[in-house]
Symmetry: C2
Subunit: 174 residues, 2 copies
């Protein structure tokens, strides 16, 4: 039996602060911020690498903010801003780049002649199809790894957490 004063010595105060052994702790028990960053980075990475091998090697991670929301029927830039959570200035710059690279065109909206629609080109459509196939393939791999039911639950929980959103009111990112 270790006397209290010695036990106190055996568990020095520093041990219970959060800043010692922090990098190691993030390895065996990563917090949600680290898990989210790693998951996002792994997926983004694999999607871009596989798109790159298929000839879409002119896309960069920043384009990932809008690429998942392109639509064959066209979509307004303001809607892309809302879906991606990015400022309209940033969305505008990304669309300029994607137009330059031949993935999208801006056309007059047939329903509202003052508005413009972002419409994928043939290259854009082919990229969209391949990107969606790659993501489906990643999900299939995770579902096989975790088991179908566990993966479906994970996805539902993730969707609920993401839908619940930040909670803290913070301005959109530039």
């Amino acid at each position: 039996m270790v006397p209290f004063s010695d036990r106190h010595y055996l568990i020095p105060y520093d041990f219970v602060t959060t800043t010692k052994g922090r990098s190691e702790r993030q390895q065996w028990n990563p917090d949600l911020a680290v898990l989210a960053a790693r998951l996002h980075s792994q997926i983004q990475h694999e999607v871009l690498a596989r798109l790159g091998s298929a000839g879409y090697d002119d896309l960069s991670p920043r384009h990932g903010a809008v690429l998942p929301y392109l639509d064959e029927d066209g979509i307004r830039a303001t809607e892309l801003g809302r879906l991606s959570g990015r400022h309209k200035q940033l969305v505008g710059r990304l669309l300029d780049e994607l137009e330059e690279l031949g993935y999208v065109e801006r056309r007059a909206d047939p329903g509202d002649r003052r508005a413009k629609l972002v419409v994928p080109t043939e290259r854009g459509l082919a990229q969209m199809r391949l990107r969606d196939e790659i993501v489906a393939d990643i999900e299939r791999r995770h579902a096989e790894g975790a088991g179908g039911r566990a993966y479906a639950q994970l996805r539902d929980e993730l969707r609920a957490i993401v839908a619940a959103g930040g909670g803290a009111r913070v301005p959109a990112r530039r």
Copy 2:
């Protein structure tokens, strides 16, 4: 009873491609890439906004690649590169910025005089403690929303998926 040829007409081929109604589908059934991007962005956003209100308003999203791994005992830049999955050139630039902003110092490693350790300053330590508190607070909120057991399962699944990693061999990001 609708004859087959008419049914075929009622379900036009375009309907079953994946590129029509895509932006809407990403709202009601976002894929894992979109979920991961949103979760990462929401957490990064809230952490930076709350750090900003507490006076750490000189940090930007890119610093988030290394900040979670800073350690009171110091850590090597190569280790930060490994943990963050970023190229050593990028890690070096981020550390230059964090040193400039007064969050870290580079000191000779007492265990190996040829090596350098990245050590947090007092400001760096205070930022680390607050950042970890904010992330813990976000996790508490999600655990309350999902229920403790469901949240623990989600976290375990996420950890397993992230540990299983990309699967496809892709080079580290610059």
